[in-house]
């Protein structure tokens, strides 16, 4: 089969692809090939140029140099639309759908089924429902996309991309918000597309998934292609060192350190009793002690994000009470929560996280400044110092701190938001999918930061779809199902198997 592929004309081939943004070289002289019927993983650190490659391929950005060939013929991608017509469809990293259109309309935007010259929404709705059903998603497709969680939105984007793909399907971090079940569904879909001879270009930071599904791997580093391998021939260790340009050192590797059982006897920093909101979350209790990491586990839509929102005051709880350090607390808005020393890294970084046009520096100091108020102004010098510290502490890849944050790669944007809260020196940090879209190196860094923060005595509430991660750092795990807390696991009870079992129990 492999020889077969080599003999074929590549589906897509690029030669000397180069792109520079202002002064930032994002991609230089990249030669890349994708054959039909293969899954090709494009890997690299945050900011390596993966998304840029895709945007050049699909005509979102104009390339500075290089040629792009589709089935041996040179093409000039003008716009995503043009590429769709050529048979190339892409699911971009940030969910770039239309929040104000219904789910079905998003799936069929630009290619709505027509009946007697009219857009036929009935058929579109039916088809959309069926397509989603294949992913085990049973939702009202006539509702606005924005009504659904980021995970559902991601699946909608994938469904659209898959349904569109004629020759090439490009997936930029499609699984970052998905739980294991959805990922498996996606992979079975990918396999069937593969059989139909479609070429699939996949970007992901989950190496397990790379080895599970891909046939070949191309590695980028700082915009340069550093390797191309058959997946089966590339050991994981070598892959990582190729991506990072150095071996994954001890310090970077996830420490499998035993969790400090120290927190449990302490006074709870936050105690929530009976918070709930109709149609959103059943009543729940929650305690987080200083120095303790509480994990929230559950399937998509089980209500993890809702808990975070209710505690942080984004949605007002209709009942129950909260105590911070034993004192009754009013958590009716983020402003108040911030004053109590709370911080929240939201799951949707584009809509709820970054202030796109502001600089990296401004984004980093924003929460601290909001906390200090209008007139306790951080001087430019102080701002620069704080930003500097964070950029180096979190290894944020940016040319300088005055760059608008929207020009950073996805993973680095995520780090900026984390930095925003770290700078505000919170006592209690809620992290909703903090490692979403973060590369292997940084992934380990962030987990280490989470642990270090706990050791420094901060209370932590972490939401993640990656069970191993939750199991690794949590002192306690609350398991959710259907907007309800169904169990609380402690100590030895915390294991992937136990969590899965709890969720599955009826």
């Amino acid at each position: 089969m492999r020889n077969n592929e080599q003999a074929q004309i590549p589906l897509i081939e690029t030669r000397g692809l180069t792109k520079t943004f202002a002064a930032t070289p994002a991609l230089s002289e990249v030669d890349f090939t994708l054959y039909s019927g293969e899954v090709h993983a494009l890997l690299g650190e945050n900011g390596a140029g993966k998304s840029t490659l895709i945007k050049l391929l699909t005509g979102v950005h104009k390339r500075d140099a290089g040629v792009i060939l589709l089935e041996g013929k040179e093409i000039e991608p003008r716009s995503p639309r043009h590429c769709q017509e050529l048979g190339i469809s892409a699911v971009y990293q940030e969910i770039n759908l239309i929040p104000t259109l219904s789910v079905a309309e998003n799936i069929f935007l630009g290619r709505q089924p027509m009946r007697r010259g009219l857009v036929d929404m009935k058929t579109a709705n039916r088809k959309a429902y069926e397509l989603l059903k294949a992913f085990d998603i049973d939702i009202d497709v006539t509702r606005d996309l924005s009504a659904y969680s980021i995970a559902i939105q991601q699946i909608v984007a994938i469904v659209r991309g898959v349904d569109l793909s004629a020759k090439v399907l490009i997936l930029d971090e499609p699984t970052s918000s998905l739980d294991r079940h959805e990922v498996e569904t996606l992979f079975s879909v990918i396999r069937s597309l593969k059989e139909r001879g479609i070429g699939i270009l996949l970007i992901t930071h989950f190496l397990d998934q790379v080895y599970e599904i891909s046939d070949r791997i191309t590695v980028l580093r700082n915009g340069i292609k550093v390797g191309e391998h058959l997946t089966s021939e590339l050991p994981r260790i070598q892959l990582i060192s190729e991506m990072l340009g150095k071996a994954l050192t001890e310090e970077l590797a996830v420490q499998k350190s035993g969790i400090s059982s120290n927190g449990l006897d302490r006074e709870p920093f936050l105690r929530v009793h009976g918070f709930a909101r109709r149609g959103m979350m059943q009543p729940f209790d929650l305690e987080v002690r200083k120095g303790e990491i509480v994990g929230l586990a559950g399937l998509l839509g089980s209500g993890r994000t809702e808990i975070a929102h209710l505690i942080f005051g984004i949605k007002h709880s209709e009942q129950g009470e909260a105590y911070v350090n034993g004192q009754a607390a009013n958590l009716s808005s983020p402003q108040k929560a911030v004053q109590y020393g709370f911080g929240l890294c939201p799951e949707d970084r584009k809509e709820d996280g970054i202030i796109a046009d502001l600089s990296v520096r401004a984004n980093i100091i924003l929460a601290l400044q909001a906390k200090l108020g209008w007139f306790e102004h951080l001087t430019p010098k102080k701002q620069e110092q704080l930003a500097e510290e964070m950029i180096s502490a979190l290894r944020i890849v940016t040319t300088d701190m005055e760059k608008p944050v929207k020009e950073l790669s996805g993973g680095n944007q995520q780090k900026v938001i984390l930095a925003r809260w770290l700078v505000s020196n919170p006592e209690f940090l809620i992290l909703d999918e903090p490692t979403r879209g973060i590369d292997v190196g940084a992934h380990a860094e962030i987990i280490n930061i989470v642990k270090r923060l706990a050791q420094e005595g901060k209370a932590m509430l972490v939401i993640s779809s990656e069970l191993p991660e939750i199991v690794d750092y949590s002192d306690r795990v609350m398991v959710l199902r259907d907007k309800q807390v169904i169990a609380e696991l402690e100590g030895d009870q915390i294991s992937e198997a136990m969590i899965m079992q709890t969720i599955a129990e009826r």
């Binding site: 942080f312 984004i314 808005s333 983020p334 402003q335 929560a337 911030v338 929240l344 939201p346 809509e351 709820d352 996280g353 970054i354 202030i355 796109a356 046009d357 502001l358 401004a362 924003l366 929460a367 400044q369 909001a370 906390k371 200090l372 108020g373 209008w374 007139f375 306790e376 102004h377 951080l378 430019p380 925003r420």
Partner: protein, 354 residues
């Protein structure tokens, strides 16, 4: 057009970093546009740049431009901040009318001999400004707490504010003689009209207020992404109320300038369509109507561009029916000049020709 000197100018200006006031690309092209318009004016009217001293007062077209622009510059200060939060304030013109009506009605009581403290000129000015602040507060309340779209929220005051001003003066256009109040619009210090000082003072004051505090950053943040700002713990409602209130205050000052200029309040026409000029200036100054980064001095530059154009029309012998067409063409030309896309389009066009 000679791009060479402009490009050099651009580099020189880029070196200047005046405390948060960075010259971006746009600023350079705005300055270029202003200079071109002034040069054209000079070609039309040979003594355009001449300035004489008459009775201790500087007289000349350049002074006329600054003096004539002052009311709109004041408006543009508040308008810039409002637009930076992704809002818009259509009511500034009527707030001008309300403030001037309030001031003139009160001051005439004083002139008629009323002794209460609230008829004293200084207090009257404060009351008029407070009236503007209340109007702004109302707008801010509708926008921030009732979630009414800014254009509609301020449209309500645009319509009914005119009525309120007319009600205050009972439909008349009262005149006054008090020199203190008149000073705001026509006073002269060291030969220069007082409104010019007022504008400069407000520009500097407000710039200091927003840049030496966190307000400027928070305004931009709310304007760019209100949701993310909310998540970051910013009280966006309070920011919005503040900018609309400030806009009301600026409008009130503009109203006093206009009233002082001719020693009367015109509740019918004072500030009519002024909101359009203010918005136009803010956009020429580079603040996006989608909110975000702003620069008060560039907005003022935008006003000067519009006012120079108007003064150019005044000194030209063109029949007034052509005014609007000229204005449309010049405004478009200025904006095209500022557009990177347009300039690279021109470049491509020339290259193809060559």
């Amino acid at each position: 057009m000679q791009p060479q000197p402009i490009l050099q100018l651009k580099e020189k200006l880029a070196d200047l970093k005046l405390g948060g006031f960075s010259w971006n690309n746009r600023a350079v092209w705005s300055v270029a546009a202003l200079i071109i318009i002034l040069i054209v004016n000079r070609l039309i009217s040979p003594n355009f740049f001449s300035i004489d001293m008459v009775n201790g007062r500087l007289i000349g077209s350049l002074i006329n431009i600054l003096d004539g622009a002052s009311a709109i510059i004041l408006l543009s200060i508040g308008m810039t901040l409002v637009i930076a939060t992704k809002g818009i304030d259509l009511s500034v013109g009527t707030v001008m009318a309300i403030a001037s009506a309030v001031a003139v009605m009160l001051i005439n009581q004083y002139e008629a001999g009323a002794g209460e403290f609230y008829y004293m000129p200084g207090v009257v000015i404060l009351i008029a400004v407070a009236a503007g602040a209340i109007c702004g507060l109302w707008n801010g309340f509708l926008v921030a707490y009732l979630n009414i779209q800014p254009i509609i929220a301020t449209l309500i005051l645009l319509i009914s504010g005119r009525g309120i001003a007319q009600m205050i003066t009972q439909g008349q256009s009262p005149t006054f003689t008090n020199e203190t109040l008149a000073f705001i619009g026509r006073g002269v210090i060291l030969g220069v009209p007082f409104p010019i000082y007022l504008c400069l003072a407000m520009l500097i004051l407000v710039t200091l207020l927003v840049r030496r505090s966190a307000i400027g950053l928070l305004i931009e943040s709310v304007g760019i992404n209100a949701r993310a700002s909310f998540y970051a713990g910013i009280n966006s409602a309070r920011i919005k109320v503040m900018v609309y209130t400030l806009s009301g205050i600026c409008a009130a000052l503009a109203g006093l300038v206009v009233a002082g200029e001719v020693k009367s309040a015109d509740p019918h026409k004072a500030g009519e369509f002024a909101e359009l000029d203010a918005i136009l200036a803010v956009v020429i100054g580079g603040t996006s109507l989608n909110g975000g980064r702003f620069n008060l001095f560039l907005s003022a530059l935008g006003v000067l561009i519009i006012q120079s154009l108007l003064t150019g029309l005044y000194v030209s012998k063109l029949h007034p029916t052509a005014n609007l067409v000229v204005k449309a063409i010049v405004v478009l030309a200025v904006l095209l000049l500022q557009s990177d896309e347009f300039r690279s389009f021109l470049k491509r066009l020339f290259r193809r020709r060559a």
